[in-house]
């Protein structure tokens, strides 16, 4: 029997995650929880045979004995208010908001580091997309003095949470490039593009390369990381071959002679959200990867 799970938040992300989780053999989705009884997400849950509650996080806490793990797809504000209560109730929380209360996990980099943590934070969509590439460069060189990511998402796929807290996105993502990616200094940039039809999520990673770096090894590591991430986010790909450009560049981490440029595109799986919303798909795919790793760690088998 799988881990008993609830998804909290019946918006785009929660509903997309539901569709993915119903295919899992180790995560047993028991409920989708929202606050609007008329939401499309809850209606879809009912039609798919999943229990739907509109009584919010309190409903989960009132029925705490029924759940091993929750996936929080609400907002940073709601997560901050409830995260301690989930822990007290003995429920593991996978946090898809930028609340950043628990240790940060990027599925392709430090998946197994925090399997026993009561609360895991999935950083941001841009963080899930770009931190692996900073790590890919880092494992091929002595140091990455400075790394930068630029994330461009379709306006239609940026919800009110992102829009009202855009500083939280860039700060949390930038921190992940250092703490998990291994860069010494970092910067994150997010751009919204309203073009119609909506653009696919694009991410660009720039990484400063110190003197004496083995450029072939860097490129090889990047290609290999594309496969590692695509294993759980099928629409993750290098849009163009990675390149090494010659500087010098006066970065905040010091002058570097070269930079690696990694041009990524993320196409969503189209489970609930349209394929252009790769930014949302990469979060739900990462949540599945982390949830299943925890289930396996606890001895749950298919």
């Amino acid at each position: 029997m799988g881990l008993r799970c609830a998804i909290i938040g019946s918006g785009n992300i929660g509903t997309d995650l539901m569709v993915k989780m119903l295919r899992s053999e180790v995560l047993d989705l028991r409920a989708l929880v929202g606050i609007d009884p008329d939401s499309d997400g809850l209606a879809r849950a009912r039609s798919m045979g999943v229990e739907a509650s509109h009584e919010g996080p309190d409903w989960v806490l009132d029925n705490a004995g029924e759940f091993d793990m929750i996936f929080d797809a609400t907002s940073a504000y709601v997560h901050v208010r409830y995260y301690k209560k989930y822990a007290e109730a003995g429920i593991t929380a996978i946090d898809l908001t930028p609340a950043a209360r628990g240790p940060k996990v990027i599925a392709a980099v430090n998946l197994t580091e925090h399997l026993d943590a009561p609360n895991i934070n999935l950083v941001t969509c841009g963080g899930q997309a770009t931190t692996p590439m900073v790590h890919a460069v880092r494992r091929a060189v002595d140091s990455v003095p400075y790394a930068e990511m630029v994330s461009t998402v379709a306006s239609k796929s940026a919800g009110p949470g992102t829009r009202q807290n855009i500083d939280e996105f860039t700060k949390t993502t930038s921190t992940a490039l250092r703490e998990i990616g291994g860069a010494e200094t970092s910067k994150a940039i997010i751009i919204l593009n309203p073009a119609e039809p909506p653009i696919m999520m694009r991410n660009t990673v720039f990484a400063g390369l110190p003197e004496g770096s083995d450029h072939e090894a860097v490129l090889e590591s990047i290609w290999s990381m594309e496969k590692e991430v695509a294993a759980y986010v099928p629409g993750y790909r290098l849009k163009n071959p990675p390149v090494i450009e010659e500087g010098p560049y006066s970065t905040p981490g010091g002058v570097v002679p070269h930079r690696a440029v990694v041009l990524l595109e993320v196409e969503g799986a189209g489970d609930y959200l349209p394929p252009f919303a790769g930014n949302l798909d990469i979060m739900t795919a990462a949540a599945m990867r982390v949830g299943e790793a925890i289930a396996e760690h606890r001895g749950v088998t298919a």
Partner: protein, 355 residues
Amino acid sequence: MTATPSIAVSTDYRLIDSTLRDGSHAISHQYYADDVIKIVAGLDRAGVQVIEIAHGDGLGGSSFNYGFSAIDEKELIAKACDTAVNAQIACLMIPGIGLADDLREVRELGVSVARIAVHCTEADITEQHIKVAKELGMEAIGFLMMSHMNSPEGLVEQAKLLQSYGADTIYIADSAGAMTTEDVRRRVNALVGALEVPVGVHAHNNLAMAVSNSIAAFEEGAKNLDGTSAGLGAGAGNCPTEILAAVSDKYGIATGVDPLVLMDVAEEIVRPLMPRQQVIDRAGLLLGYAGVYGSFLLHAERAAERYNVPIADILLELGRREVVGGQEDMIIDVALELAAQHAQSELTDPDIESR
């Protein structure tokens, strides 16, 4: 500290000079303290009311994507605040690139005007920043970039959001220098009719329309106009402040600035700094023609050279993709794709095969 200039001058519009912000693009963000002191002193002497300074892409813009500043912008901003006697110092910031924390820092340095810039359809990402600026006691100017990409009605909707967050003034920016005079008139007219706060226009010269569009904006009721000394700026350059002041004089429009002093500043201080004069060459014109963000110009030139593809092809493809301000990384993307297509066509070209 208040947001009121120490000398009140009665003018028909307010001139905001952006030589030290938008002009920064044209010199690849390589301003030094001496340049800042000289330019601020000159503009202040000429009577310019507001002087904007920051990385070309706003506070926090120093990056791989947009180019690293030679000197930390905060150091330069401090110098500008120390130098200005009458002029207010402004900073521009783009949410997603800069942070509200940047506004707090520059407020401490003496900056009293915050321009919060955003793509012309995404005004709702500025709420926290406009509110922070207001809490800090700054004038908050909402700045809608690439305004040629939105209709007059669409801009009114976005401007009303900015107004509801507390913006004191609302600008439309012709960031691609792509608007005709009629485009400007319709947009300004719609905004002036719908808003309670004053309107401003920031023009670029890619289609040689910057000065005439600025005057037209004034005639439609805009109370703020932007320019840079000698037109120094992204793309083919901005509205040259010394020309705008001279033309305004001819029209009998009171600017409060002395065109002769502005001419001296342009000629003696700014032109010697310029790696090249602002002319409307093919690439500059193409920006306006294809509606591409002006600051892409120098980045596109570098990519064209590095990957041996024509700059015109890069700019036209960026226009087709409807990229917005800030997506400089797409220049490399487009250049690589063009280079790959080029290599492919060489392989399959029978003339080359038969050689």
